[in-house]
Symmetry: C2
Subunit: 156 residues, 2 copies
């Protein structure tokens, strides 16, 4: 992949990316992702955390698991679920196998909201659809290298 000599003095003459630069770009990307997410959630009167929690509830989950996934203290989950429950987006249900735990699950309205949020997010990430197959695989592979899959959850 030889490149023609730039006819115009190029602003970025092959940046030679070092880890620090890459980290800055990751920070920028992560910020952009959440700015986007927060805006979409706000469009439905939801906070970032409320939107995150809804998006996590693909299946019923103990509150404790939600605390782990949201990386916050268990005591916070009570309030967040309270507010979502007051808006009829989630419900609490007893766990038959362990009477200490309460399962949180989406209501029909909650499921609809999650679908709308996901669709809107996807529309905003139009750059994703423009990637060809090799680029999609490359992105998936590189993200896996930088953020190993099990790094998502602390061991507890």
């Amino acid at each position: 992949m030889t490149r023609p000599a730039p006819s115009v003095p190029s602003a970025a003459p092959t940046p030679a990316p070092d880890p620090a630069q890459l980290m800055d770009r990751l920070a920028q990307a992560a910020a952009a992702y959440y700015r986007n997410f927060a805006a979409v959630a706000a469009g439905r009167g939801l906070t970032l955390m409320q939107g995150k929690m809804l998006s996590l509830l693909r299946r019923p989950m103990p509150m404790r698991t939600l605390a782990d996934l949201l990386a916050c203290d268990a005591s916070n989950v009570t309030g967040i679920v309270d507010r979502l429950e007051a808006r009829d987006l989630v419900r609490r249900e007893a766990d038959p196998t362990d009477r200490r735990v309460k399962l949180v699950l989406l209501t029909d309205a909650g499921r609809r909201t999650v679908e709308e949020i996901r669709a809107e997010l996807l529309a905003d990430l139009s750059g994703l659809e423009s990637l060809d197959e090799p680029d999609r695989h490359a992105l998936l592979r590189l993200l896996g290298r930088v953020f190993p899959a099990d790094g998502t959850r602390p061991p507890r």
Copy 2:
């Protein structure tokens, strides 16, 4: 860049990533980045927003600019700067060219803190250093595709 055929039956037979899957992976990566960042900041008694603001201050900035970069209302910046100033990590300074604006700048202690945070973050992102040159360029390019550079700041 041809790849050798896998000699072992691969556990994931080429997932054929669609945009929705990619978005989920991006969400996971962004969450991992901020969990990391928040933990490093917390190790120094700083909140996520305080750490973000410090990291933004590579040069003195008007509070208004900080509000834009942090994607929050200008009224919030007052409090965040107040708390950082109380800990002698930043200072407020008058802008000679416009007496309405106050420039926020790092103190020496603030600069040290930023350097420590960046070093610790880089150490945690060891996956970045393990990338070879082509992979680094690919990651930079793909992030640019998905999150266009000027998407960082609203036009104002």
